[in-house]
């Protein structure tokens, strides 16, 4: 007994009284409930059997219940200081339990009165108090359980039996309509309740909206604007599932990869969502963004080894390169594969591919900014089909059959900034005409001039530093005939040596060898 009390004191001292005392509440609260239950059973049995000494036993039980209820209330108040739960829920539980405790104490006092002066009135009052206490135990218990186990804990089985959806919700992304952009907040609402939304605030953290995420909880703010990658909200969900602190906890449903990606994007974007009109509803024709391609259209492209990637920025924009598919696809297949995604293609590379009829019309309808047709059968007909294209900025027509007949179409493309016409059928006159019609358009026909060189005017020949002729013809180190190729300069005099090794010897002790030189 002493040991356990001592241990309790040590824990309290180490962890702080509230941490220990508060956490005794869920333990202690069972005492008055248990005692009340025992009292009810005992009084019922005793009433039927007419037991002797029932008053004393009942008194013990009711006073034990009252006292432990008081302790429970005290520890509960200490626990409430931790602030793990929303104020409103805590308040309702507190009020319910205070009412319950008050009723319990009233029952205890009534019992004493009935014991001191037995009588039907006092006994009835006592009985009524006990019954009232039992009734008040229900809201007290319900509000308490809601704090711990989430709202609707007691009513959930009835709801489930009535056919409503289970408490665990499926991934909001998988369940959303194709045009719905599921925001990160809905993901958090689906995956992080009830511990951080709705019922409780575990770790004092609420994930209900942006402000509460930024405010954070016990571990600090959930979002770090200076270094989003180290935001606690992100690091906790990115952690390995077996690592300490991984969220959601192991035994709860986990975030899917798509949800993780959305939350990551949301955090790096500063907790903002992209503009709503980027994902239009199917019946909303006034929105700006392209509709999403049909399911399987992208897979069909990839199966034929066409490269498809999303462009960053507004969603729904694709870059497509034939790449490995150029060799394998014939003209009709190219048209058939590009058709379903044509409303999304912003950059298209068809180098070395096979082009055919129908492609021109398809290209004209794409929201292209960049089109590359190197080494294809692209010709004036194809360029003509794209006349007046509103958004095309870069057009590569090298090594094609495009000729001067396309110059007018090219000159009239309003958004065109760069065009490449090397090794096409366009002549020098055509190029000149295009450049004249659109001076700001960069026309590259493989004729970019070289960078002009500027020799500095009047510069001396600096091919080698001015080396005077050697002063000697015999090597001062070896005495052999000197070779002018091995000349060094020492104190303004050029000295020749016979080989590559003698200069090193000379440098070791120049004074010694200088004597061998002519004056």
């Amino acid at each position: 007994m002493t040991v356990s009390v001592a241990a309790l004191c040590i824990f309290a001292a180490a962890l702080g009284p509230s941490a220990v005392l508060g956490r005794l509440h869920p333990l202690v609260l069972h005492a008055p409930l248990g005692a009340l239950a025992a009292l009810l059973v005992f009084e019922t049995v005793a009433w039927f059997l007419g037991l002797e000494g029932r008053r004393l036993a009942a008194g013990v039980l009711v006073w034990f219940a009252a006292l432990s209820a008081a302790v429970s209330v005290a520890t509960g108040l200490v626990l409430a200081l931790e602030g793990n739960h929303p104020e409103a829920n805590v308040a309702s539980h507190r009020n319910a339990t205070l009412a319950f405790t008050a009723a319990l104490w009233a029952a205890a006092v009534c019992h004493v009165r009935a014991a001191l002066k037995p009588g039907p009135g006092r006994s009835a009052l006592y009985g009524a108090a006990v019954l009232l206490t039992s009734v008040l135990a229900v809201p007290a218990g319900h509000t308490g359980a809601s704090l711990t186990h989430g709202e609707g804990y007691w009513t959930a089985p009835f709801g489930r039996a009535a056919g409503s959806p289970p408490a665990e919700s499926p991934s909001p992304i998988a369940g959303a309509e194709p045009w719905e952009r599921v925001g990160a907040l809905s993901i958090l609402a689906a995956r992080c309740s009830p511990c951080h939304i709705g019922g409780e605030r575990k770790g004092r953290l609420s994930l209900e909206d942006r402000d509460s995420i930024v405010a954070g909880g016990k571990s600090g703010p959930g979002f770090d604007s200076s270094n989003p990658g180290s935001s606690i909200l992100l690091t906790r969900i990115r952690r390995g599932i077996d690592e300490r602190g991984h969220m959601p906890p192991k035994d709860k449903p986990q975030l899917t990869a798509a949800e993780l990606q959305e939350i990551e994007r949301w955090i790096f974007a500063g907790l903002t969502d992209p503009t709503p009109e980027a994902s239009p509803r199917p019946d909303d024709h006034s929105s700006a963004g392209p509709p999403l391609p049909a399911e399987g259209a992208i897979a069909a492209l990839r199966d034929r080894f066409v490269h498809v990637e999303a462009l960053p920025g507004a969603p729904g924009r694709l870059r497509i390169e034939l790449a490995a598919g150029a060799r394998q696809l014939d003209a009709d297949e190219v048209v058939a594969l590009l058709g379903p995604v044509s409303a999304n293609i912003v950059e298209l590379t068809l180098d070395r591919g096979h082009l055919g009829g129908g492609l021109g019309g398809l290209l004209a309808g794409m929201p292209l900014t960049r089109l590359e047709l190197r080494e294809t059968e692209a010709d004036d007909a194809l360029v003509g089909a794209m006349a007046g294209h509103a958004t095309l900025e870069v057009l590569v027509l090298t090594q094609t059959q495009v000729s001067d007949a396309s110059i007018d179409v090219l000159a009239a493309l309003p958004a065109l900034r760069r065009v490449y016409l090397w090794d096409s059928r366009v002549t020098a006159e055509g190029i000149a005409r295009l450049r004249g019609a659109r001076p700001a358009l960069r026309v590259d026909a493989g004729d970019t001039p070289d960078a002009a060189s500027e020799a500095p005017a009047g510069a001396p020949d600096v091919r080698s530093p001015a080396t005077p002729a050697a002063v000697n013809s015999v090597c001062p180190v070896s005495g052999k005939p000197a070779d002018p190729a091995y000349t060094i300069v020492h104190r303004g005099r050029a000295i020749a040596f016979c080989c590559a090794r003698c200069p090193a010897t000379f440098w070791e002790n120049p004074e010694r060898h200088l004597a061998n030189l002519p004056k």
Binding site: I173, A174, A176, R181, V182, G229, A257, A258, Q261, R265, L292, P293, I298, R302, F305, H307, V308, E309, A310, P312, G313, P315, L318, E321, A323, A324, R327, N344, E372, R374, V394, V396, R418, Y420, W422, D423, D444, A445, T448, D450, A451, A452, S453, E454, A455, D461, V462, R463, S464, P465, T467, A485, Y486, T487, I488, V489, H490, A494, P503, A504
Partner: protein
């Protein structure tokens, strides 16, 4: 679902599809201006003083001792520590200034062809590094760390961005031998480090056959080969599910890539349809397999076919002695081909989104290693400043950046570390260098290690 989810769902995930991307799904982070990189690594470290960093004032300092105020206690290598003197060796070569978008760029007489395309080139004179010898220096430049074990640049790109052309690897390496003192080139310079090994560089041989055994043996048809690979893939998948060893997947992916390369490599190396005038642009060596000229032509063809990272090595720049004679030969071997590569890419409209990078592991000293004569000198390694250049891919055209002091020994303005350069290149590719990471040994690794800032002045 959103478009990202659609794209991710349709991403080929099984080993039977080669070159699937393993990287984070949200790449690219920003709009890329470069889609592929041709990286010319000059192995051995060319002398910046004799090629690009023009220091006319050194003419008057021939044979003078390098002042201590300049040297500032720079550590010496074992090759020059025995020297008693460090005489200044000005360059023997004449420099010409070529007009570009700003004040002109000085290029030595050794590189006349390159000078004439100087208006496309962005010179960075103020690169610096820590390593003083080749192996750690090259490792640092390729992987972001002097100690081996990390993935190379091309592997990071293969991992992050994946391959565009499923028929070819995302990372291809070609090596040209040089004329001078040649240092060793380890295969781990294009290795995948701790990334799955399907991201390693694929080295094409320098001989007549870039890839050996491309043709199936007698009696084995392509359909047979396909069925064989499908069976092996099925067995491999089962084994993978049992053991979760990622190298099984890597092996299957590479077998699939080899199958595809059987058809794509002959198409790549078939120069018969190339215009002779185009080939002539690359110089007389173009028909010698394994020369820099031949490799440049292949590099252009690889770029046309969408290969992400094409790395060319030229060995033999380590001129510790006999520099003037050897550097003439080295420079001649790459001058015309590389200039032709830039021209060829430009006129095909490929230079806009192809980044060409010319770099080395460090520079060379201003003082002569060994005997200094009027016509001969050598130079030792010098990490404190060296020159690299870039062209295309969203880099600012025709500028010079950074400045060294009069001795080309210390940096005076705008130092650029190797990590900064990597961060800048990754930015051009649309990647935030701090967010392309891979978890290994309990922490996130990235190419730029723990430093590096994007040099905004180099971006167009």
């Amino acid at each position: 679902m959103s478009l990202d989810a659609l794209l991710a769902a349709d991403e080929p995930g099984s080993a039977a599809h080669a070159s699937r991307r393993g990287g984070p799904p949200e790449l690219p982070h920003v709009a890329p201006t470069a889609r592929r990189v041709i990286y010319l690594h000059m192995e051995g470290a060319p002398s910046q003083l004799d090629l690009f960093d023009h220091k006319p004032g050194l003419r008057d300092r021939f044979d003078q001792d390098l002042p201590d105020s300049i040297r500032r206690g720079q550590r010496l290598t074992g090759m020059t520590s025995g020297q008693t003197r460090f005489p200044v060796a000005p360059s023997l070569f004449q420099f010409t200034r070529y007009r570009n978008e700003t004040g002109g760029a000085w290029v030595s007489e050794l590189l006349p062809h390159l000078g004439r395309v100087a208006n496309e080139i962005c010179f960075v004179y103020s690169m610096h590094t820590d390593a003083i010898n080749h192996e750690p220096g090259i490792t640092f430049f390729q992987t972001g760390n002097e100690q081996p074990g990390r993935p190379s640049f091309g592997s990071w790109m293969s991992y992050g961005l994946g391959s565009v052309n499923r028929d070819l690897p995302a990372f291809v390496v070609m090596i040209a031998q040089g004329q001078g003192n040649m240092q060793a080139l380890s295969a781990r310079f294009w290795g995948s480090g701790f990334l799955p090994s399907e991201h390693q560089g694929c080295k094409l041989r320098a001989g007549g056959d870039p890839v050996l055994y491309l043709r199936d043996p007698e009696g084995l048809t392509r359909e047979d080969r396909r069925r064989f690979l499908d069976l092996v893939a099925a067995l491999g998948e089962a084994e993978f599910r049992r053991t979760m060893d990622p190298e099984i997947r890597a092996r299957l992916v590479q077998a699939e890539m080899a199958y595809r390369m059987q058809l794509s490599v002959p198409d790549l190396t078939d120069l018969s349809k190339e215009d002779p005038s185009t080939l002539a642009m690359y110089g007389p060596d173009v028909h010698r397999p394994g020369s820099m000229a031949a490799n440049c032509v292949l590099a252009r063809r690889l770029a046309e076919r969408g290969v992400r990272f094409i790395q060319l090595y030229q060995r033999g720049w380590d001129q510790h002695s006999n520099l003037p004679a050897e550097i003439r030969l080295q420079a001649k071997a790459f001058d015309q081909p590389v200039a032709a590569l830039l021209r060829d890419l430009r006129r095909r409209g490929l230079l806009d989104d192809t980044l060409v990078l010319w770099a080395s592991e460090f520079g060379r000293t201003v003082y002569s290693q060994g005997t200094l004569t009027a016509t001969n000198y050598g130079r030792d390694h010098h990490p404190r400043c060296f020159t690299i250049w870039m062209a295309g891919g969203g880099v600012k055209r025709g500028i010079t950046f950074g400045r060294t002091d009069d001795f080309s020994y210390n940096i005076e303005e705008n130092p650029v570390s190797v990590h900064d350069l990597h961060a800048t290149i990754l930015h051009l590719l649309g990647i935030d260098h701090e967010r392309l990471v891979y978890r290994h040994m309990g922490r996130d690794f990235r190419l730029t290690d723990v430093s590096g800032t994007v040099v905004r002045e180099l971006l167009a």
